[in-house]
Amino acid sequence: MIEFAIFFFFAAIAVVFALVVILHRNTVVGALSLVASFFALAVMYVLLDAPFLAALQVIVYAGAIMVLFLFVIMLLNLQHVSEPATRPIQQFLGYAGSAFFGIALVYYLAKYTVLQLPPGPFVSDARAIGVTLFEAYIFPFEMVSILLLAAIVGALLLSSRGGQAPSPVRPEVAR
């Protein structure tokens, strides 16, 4: 019974903070709400017998990726930028289309996915994940490491000004 209470409490937190992300005009508030939503999702992962991935969710998503977002928002000084409300037709179409999509998705999920859980515990600790990862998935694992290296190089190249190395002292500052 306590499991259901935890599920509904954290599901409500995840949904409410996700709504704050898309409705609030301030980007910093949006990023922090997304962190809260990710924490609630980590609780969902624990309820799904995946505590290792819950830890990864907190460390990698809430810890690393969202800090990167906040850092970029701070770097570009975007917390005072608000977007003017234009294009009402497109906005209405976006809301209506996604609402239709969501209602259809929830309807069909509620109607057709009546699944019986198999008996017995689901062993998904760090040891089981590690054995699977380094035996069956060793090649994708290496590919992901190369992809991350390429992403680092790409991010460095893109974020330096115009592809050239930044000059150490700007002339107007030196004067």
Partner: protein
Amino acid sequence: MIPTSWFLILSAILFTIGVCGFLTRRNGITMFMCVELMVNAVNLTFLAYARQFHQLHGLIFVFFVMAIAAAEAAVGLAIFISLFHHRETIDVDEANLMRW
């Protein structure tokens, strides 16, 4: 035990919120956060089915999705920094040319 379909419905709701934000907002970083929200909703689906069928492969997939989301966030935010240096804005309506 909580039924799998409840997790699937929660995941569908979060995915829909992500789609809605992506379609209606024009701030580039907010759109990017909506993409992260959709990725997390799909991760929740993977884990729900992994528990349903007692398969570890769903968990491994979530692991890879997290790694690729990190790479995507790094490159995407670098693109927005570059855009901001050239245009002084991250409104995606302003980024209407492939070269600038």
